[in-house]
């Protein structure tokens, strides 16, 4: 009995429990909304969302679709890493959506317009996105502009820029950009044999292992290096950090540059697989950046947690495509993930409540014995 208590008191366990509670409550809320829309198929629709690719009876087909989910998980993981890295330094990098959009714009333009090989495209995407981060960081530290507001403004500016840029390389008959596969094979990310593992899913590239390695790297930088320690100290109290001789303005800008680079990398990782083409008339930034917020908080703001939470968020987003379209729409999974983010706001309170309950239980036991 004693052993069980000690597990419950561990912060990691508490984070896990509260994330699980967020998921369950989020799905419950989604179920209620589905029931309100149409009670007949609500249970089945929720099941469709949760099942996603497991709906395919053949293991090999399911494996292929599982691959598709993973292909989209890599960019999501990068976006959530960008968010959590900045959040640890006390910055809310909501500009991640725009950084992702501009990164996609530059990666695709470099691939289609300039016919460059993939590693140059990736680097260019990173550079463009970190420039955006640098602008936010500069405005924050030298002009006292809230990074959330500058981030949102930059989101719209980057969306319009990406649309303008990619209109140059779009198909003449459709609003989509040309397919990399037909135009410039050298811009496709290498597979390194991963496609064979997933029933010849050609979109499986080095992006996936790279994303996981970067997650571990982010964890290492934040927890095990002096640089990461300085960044976190700046986040806790920037006046104290400056007093200790840390350059808090430089740290703010650097954090957002790294955040931007992560988001740009994510965009390149996705669009250079050829899985999806950019629609040049799209009127809002891709949802990947905003879903990254959900994944970051659901993962308890831990890089390793983010791997699993990204997979989950992407899983239900993909699953949303399978709901019965005559009754519901696929945006129901966006609704569920936004409810999950909302509930993540309560995590602090949940932990407080859990701790209070544990202490009270301990006291009662102490009184009895």
């Amino acid at each position: 009995m004693n052993k069980k208590e000690s597990i419950l008191k561990k912060p990691a366990m508490q984070t896990f429990i509260s994330s699980l509670a967020c998921i369950v409550l989020g799905l419950l809320a989604g179920f209620i909304v589905l029931t309100f829309i149409d009670a007949r198929g609500s249970g089945k629709a929720l099941l469709d969302i949760i099942r996603n690719f497991f709906r395919y009876p053949s293991a090999s087909v399911a494996l292929k679709y599982f691959g598709n989910t993973i292909v989209k998980t890599a960019p999501l993981l990068m976006c959530s890493l960008s968010i959590l890295f900045s959040y640890k330094v006390g910055l809310f990098n909501i500009g991640v959506a725009g950084q992702y959009a501009l990164g996609a714009g530059l990666a695709l333009y470099a691939a289609l317009g300039w016919q460059l090989p993939w590693y140059v495209c990736v680097l260019l995407a990173c550079a463009a996105s970190s420039l955006l981060g640098a602008i936010s960081g500069f405005l924050k530290s030298y002009c006292n502009v809230n990074e959330v507001i500058s981030g949102i403004m930059l989101n719209w500016l980057s969306l319009y820029t990406a649309n303008m840029l990619l209109t140059i390389v779009k198909e003449t008959t459709s609003p989509y950009t040309k397919n990399i596969v037909n135009v410039n094979q050298s811009a496709l990310l290498p597979n390194m044999g991963l496609d064979k593992l997933f029933n010849n899913n050609q979109y499986m590239t080095i992006a996936i292992p790279l994303a996981i390695i970067l997650a571990i790297l982010v964890w290492f930088i934040l927890e095990k290096t002096k640089f990461g320690y300085e960044l976190k100290a700046t986040g806790y109290n920037k006046h104290a950090a400056r007093y200790c001789g840390m350059k808090e303005k430089r740290n703010t800008i650097l954090t957002l540059i790294i955040g931007g680079a992560l988001a740009g990398l994510g965009a390149a990782m996705f669009y250079l697989t050829g899985y999806e083409q950019w629609m040049c008339t799209q009127s809002s930034v891709p949802g990947m950046g905003f879903n990254g917020i959900a994944a970051a908080f659901l993962g308890g703001l831990h890089p390793i947690g983010a791997i699993f939470s990204s997979l989950f968020i992407q899983h239900i987003t993909e699953g949303g495509a399978y709901v019965d379209k005559t009754l519901y729409c696929s945006q129901i999974s966006d609704l569920i993930s936004s409810i999950i983010i909302y509930l993540c706001g309560f995590v602090l309170f949940m932990k407080l409540f859990l701790n209070k309950w544990l202490t009270r239980r301990d006291e009662q036991k102490g009184g009895r014995s």
């Binding site: 405005l139 519901y328 909302y342 706001g345 309560f346 602090l348």
Partner: protein, 312 residues
Amino acid sequence: MTLLMQYTLIYASVLILVALGGCFSEHSGVINLGLEGIMVMGAMGGALTMKYLTGSPAPVIILATIGASALVGLVYSLLLAVACINFKADQTIVGTALNMLGTAAATVIIKAINTAANPDDVSSVVQYFDAKKSFIVSMNGFDFNWFMLVALILLVAAYILLYKTRFGLRLMACGEHPQAADSVGINVYRMRYAGVMISGFLGGLGGIVYITAGVSEWKFENGVVGFGFLALAVMIFGQWKPTRIALAALLFGLFRALSNVYTGIGFLKALNVPSTIYNMLPYMISLLVLALTSKNSRAPKAEGIPYDKGAR
């Protein structure tokens, strides 16, 4: 030129309403980043009211639409209030969640209504072409919109409420130094609820004004394309003061209006700048303005910090 003035005034009305909403919330000590989502929800309430009341007499439509959008916005803002005031949640996360939730929920609801009416219709569009006419009084080419008057009245009301009444002064005290306010018997939690609910009321109203400003149908998948955040920029530029907010809103309204009417102005059309540039203009200007004016910002001192009775 009349057209430019007309669009400037209507967009300025939107910005005045929403920025005043943000102003009330922040003066009470809660940062309301969820204004964008509140606008979407308010717009949805208003748009559906207009859709179902098509054909009713004009005063009925006007009053019902205003009432519905403000009420929906107010109820929706309670989600922010509960999380940030009672549960001390991070105001940035909850605000962001409300923005995403607003667009997602409106899309799901509108699609459900559209699909129920016609199984082939999977769009998230609401049309209110006829009902919109009740709001407009045409005078020699200038379309006066009743919403402009509403915004003006609420601007004056907000000024009086904030500076000339006991309630307003108490509200501002809660945003500057809640402990001091509490020590003289002001209920900080209740004041913050009031601030957030007023912002929901004004934000919801701003939402319906925005979607009826230029067009006669709205696709809710797009949300309100960042207008809630433009309003926050207006509020910061206006230094959290209603009169300055009104002036800032006119300036931003002008830039937003340019993208609607630039083709009708001779020399702007001759410049042959792509329309995307005009769409980007409000965001660029707001970044620039924020960069130049935020250094000496007079933000309420305690905004963003959950009030904790036990803290010293």
